[in-house]
Symmetry: C2
DNA sequence: CTAGCCTGTGCAAAGATTTGCATCAACAAG
DNA sequence: CTTGTTGATGCAAATCTTTGCACAGGCTAG
């Protein structure tokens, strides 16, 4: 049960999503990546590209909605995905040269929600990504 | 000189960028918008679509690099642009229903740079967007 | 185990954004 | 004002992502 994939699958089941070979393969790829990856990269890493690229896009979107996968953005706007690894919401510090990334646990969630409430906004969410040049690339 | 367009133009000149009719038109549209807008929206608002959509994409990108325009992201990943209005770096609280947005002057710039430096990262930048449902839409 | 419902998948096509390349024109120098 | 350099533009095409639709297959109830 400590296996992140097994865990993700049970969460998906709870949410009423179906477990298919394609989705298992996509999760498999995600668990092997050590940095957040895009839908295309995920598809390329599937053994023998066993499923359609469109399915990867759609599945990742579902995983994010279900809360088992975290969504991020590259500096150029590309969406990237990674496992939450139990920490849930978090952010990344990504190298704009090599794409490597570090987990950043700082977050202004609370401050932001307070400010938003000040403007009368409800259901507040946010996206944040940090970019730089890592030691190896500078 | 208090005119944001005139100001933007002089900055662009300083940076060695050329001032064309197309770019002036794009800045004009940007100055009229009261919320950040996408490249496509900007193009649609150009009188008689006087320039190619591709040019709008490229020009906005240049404006961001030159620092006269701020880049944001919608919740679905679309890039949006707005004038910095002299406040320079800032963020937005955007309604996910109607697209209206408020300027948010809170920013963790300093904390983030410190953290990034802790990992040995240089040239740190970040993107942050806050989303919610505004009073009129809820 | 079987049947049926309804989600998930693949294909095709639309839509959004980026890139390559030849031509055009802004700007600096003379 | 004229000219040359070099960045900017438009068109076409490639790339990335989303959407529509018919069919296949996961899961629940019997």
């Amino acid at each position: 049960m400590s296996d992140p994939i097994t865990k993700a699958i049970s969460v998906l089941r709870e949410k009423g999503l179906r477990i298919t070979e394609q989705r298992k393969a996509i999760l498999e790829v995600l668990s092997k990546a050590d940095s957040p990856i895009s839908a295309e990269e995920n598809h390329a890493m599937l053994v023998a590209s066993q499923c359609d690229l469109v399915t990867v896009y759609r599945s990742l979107e579902q995983f994010v909605k279900a809360g088992v996968v975290e969504l991020g953005v590259r500096e150029n706007g590309t969406k990237v995905y990674c496992f939450g690894h139990g920490h849930g919401h978090h952010h990344h510090l990504t190298c704009r040269m090599c794409g490597d990334s570090e987990r950043v646990d700082v977050c202004m969630k609370n401050e932001l929600e307070e400010i938003a409430r000040g403007y009368g906004y409800q259901e507040v969410t946010h996206v944040m990504e940090v970019f730089g040049v890592c030691p190896s690339c500078s």
